[in-house]
């Protein structure tokens, strides 16, 4: 994929993206996604998928254990709340550091293999972390109950002791819930996006793409692929840790279920659905999946009856029965069908779809221009 790049174009790209993200509460309201809880999820999972894409999209190494870093980030953030206080900034910084160290250890071992063996190794590590969080590591993770901040925790920077009201992360007095929480997540997402954009345009980024394309040639070109992949792995682990911290910043509770393999699988789906290797794709993918999860799972028989109320009764009953399979508990079915359709017809994900639409529009506008002159040659 070769596109002309320049700092000015990238700045425009970034500013448009920033404007779109920051105005999400407005333009997502008409489709029922304008409420803070869901918007926070868009930003958090967008960040998670952006980081995952640096590893998977650029180097082609498919990690099936990224949820482990999400968990490490979450636990670190809650511990930071417990020990240091409810400020989200130290929590985020410590989560990035902790997940980075964790990723360095797991990556160092897992990257000795590539392809399916790498995926299995990362999966094994993640499942190990998940099970340890429930058993041996209970003193740190508080097991099944989940780790939460207690009134009795030291919280040095806050002065500790009792507080009025529930313990919620706050940035110098602004509570990180609702829209304030969303804007905090959105700003972190923008920082993450900016860094990802720079990586994509950097010599490091092109080396990662070289890893994906031909490691043999790379070695015989005087480059060692191992540190490149390890760096990508650690960077994407840090993104995941940061996303995990954001989850706790908006809701200070960390549970081990966050590290389960289904969560690792979800970020893979997001990235592929949106378009692996593209900057925006994973964020679209994350938003789409979270939207489906929240909107479709909220539908029930009652709402379906209301939607299809215009149909005659003998039609309405079967239509509701069939579509009922795809909503509520069955929203995974909708997601599965959508995923299959995209993988089969748009292997490049949503971004490829947008590119195709763009090309069709361009062609039709060219045609309408050319139709004026009689000598327009056929393509």
């Amino acid at each position: 994929m070769f596109t002309k790049t320049s700092p000015a174009l990238d700045l425009v790209y970034f500013l448009v993206f920033a404007a779109a993200v920051l105005t999400m509460p407005i333009w997502l309201a008409p489709i029922g996604a304008g409420y803070p809880d869901l918007l926070q999820k868009f930003a958090i999972f967008g960040l998670f998928a952006t980081g995952f894409n640096i590893l998977f999209g650029l180097t082609g190494y498919l990690s099936f254990g990224h949820a482990a870093f999400l968990g490490v980030g979450s636990y670190t953030a809650v511990w930071s709340f417990k020990l240091l206080g409810m400020n989200p900034i130290p929590a985020a910084v410590l989560a990035v550091v902790a997940s980075g160290v964790f990723a360095l250890a797991i990556g160092y071992v897992s990257l000795r293999r590539s392809g399916i063996y790498f995926s299995i190794l990362t999966l094994a590590f993640a499942q190990m972390s998940y099970n340890l969080a429930y058993s041996v590591l209970t003193p740190i993770t508080n097991g099944e109950t989940g780790l939460r901040v207690l009134e009795s925790d030291p919280r040095i920077l806050d002065g500790g002791g009792a507080t009025d009201g529930p313990l919620i992360s706050n940035l110098f007095g602004i509570e990180m819930t609702g829209y304030a929480g969303f804007y905090f997540c959105a700003v972190v997402l923008l920082i993450g996006f900016f860094i990802a954009q720079r990586i994509f345009r950097s010599p490091f980024g092109i080396m990662l793409r070289a890893v994906k394309t031909n490691q043999n040639r790379m070695t015989y070109t005087g480059l060692n692929p191992r540190p490149y992949t390890l760096a990508a792995f650690v960077i994407s682990g840090m993104y995941a840790g940061l996303a995990g911290a954001l989850m706790c910043i908006t809701d200070p509770l960390a549970g081990a279920e966050r590290m389960q393999w289904t969560a690792s699988g979800e970020v893979v789906l997001m990235t592929i659905l949106g378009g692996a290797g593209t900057l925006l794709g994973p964020i679209f993918g994350a938003a789409l999946i979270k939207y489906f999860e929240n909107i479709f799972s909220a539908f029930n028989e009652q709402t379906l009856h209301e939607i299809f109320g215009f149909l005659p009764d003998f039609l309405e009953a079967p239509v509701v029965a069939v579509s009922g399979l795809f909503v509520g508990e069955g929203w995974h079915l909708t997601l599965g069908v959508l995923f299959m359709l995209i993988v089969i017809f748009l292997p490049g994900g949503l971004m490829e779809g947008f590119a195709r639409i763009g090309r069709v529009l361009k062609r039709s506008s060219n045609k309408s221009e050319k139709s004026g002159s009689a000598t327009a040659p056929a393509e």
Partner: protein, 251 residues
């Protein structure tokens, strides 16, 4: 002056003795061809030189540096490049990017974490790689994805990638294998042209037409041992070579 010296190299695969006490040296500036019938051990020999295979015994010296035991990327960094039998290029990247990578490897070494520099602002890399593309005549295809090139152009690109690193020694493993006559001649022309840059070349080749139009020294390998060495014209007439290589037929 000697640039490469191979001494007493042995290599066995299980019971098969692929290389049998090979002694070999390459003079600086030479185009040295290694020929031999199928299974003579030519590729094994090359792989031992470039670090893909470790010889069982013996040493490979590049100037004062011992190449035995070095990793392929370390061998490249001291100035040895390799062209593969089937062109090894970055098929998903554009031609220009394909050349930028070796140019950066030459400048920045085995690993450099330039995650915040902009590649499109790096004038040195952009100009050098563009210049290289012009030199091999691929400049107008610079935005094309390398995987879509013809076999001949892929070979040309791979050569350009190697040359962009200014290697002291270039190893070519059957550079014209599987090419049409026209592509073969183009490749020979290109290799002759870059011969002016005093890069020492070791060519493994099947095609006698290529060997005799390029090489100024030929080594003949048969059953893992060197059976003859000398100027191309001498080799042509050597009865041992004809026996081993062609079963007695005249070249």
């Amino acid at each position: 002056m000697e640039i490469l010296r191979v001494e007493g190299v042995n290599k066995s695969f299980g019971g098969l003795r692929a290389l049998n006490n090979v002694n070999f040296s390459v003079e600086e500036g030479d185009v040295h061809a290694i020929i031999g019938p199928n299974g003579a051990g030519k590729s094994t020999f090359l792989n031992c030189m470039i670090g893909r295979l470790a010889p069982d015994t013996g040493s490979v010296m590049f100037g004062d540096i011992s190449l035995t035991g070095m990793k392929p990327y370390e061998i490249n960094q001291v100035g040895v490049s390799r062209v593969f039998q089937t062109p090894e290029i970055f098929t998903d990247l554009s031609l220009w990017e394909n050349i930028m990578i070796p140019t950066m490897a030459k400048r920045d070494g085995v690993f450099a974490l330039h995650a915040f520099k902009r590649l499109d602002q790096d004038k040195e890399i952009l100009d050098k790689s563009m210049h290289m593309l012009e030199e091999v005549g691929l400049a107008d295809k610079r935005t094309v994805i390398a995987g879509s090139l013809s076999r001949g152009d892929k070979r040309r690109l791979e050569l350009a990638m190697c040359l962009s690193q200014d290697p002291k020694l270039l190893l070519l493993d059957e550079p014209t294998a599987g090419m049409s006559r026209a592509d073969t001649n183009n490749t020979i022309d290109l290799l002759k042209r870059i011969g002016d840059r005093s890069i020492t070349k070791v060519v493994i080749e099947h095609d006698m037409h290529v060997v005799f139009s390029l090489a100024n020294k030929v080594t003949v390998l048969a059953q893992g041992a060197i059976i003859a060495e000398g100027k191309p014209e001498d080799i042509k007439g050597d009865p041992r070579v004809q026996e081993a290589y062609l079963g007695g037929a005249h070249l």
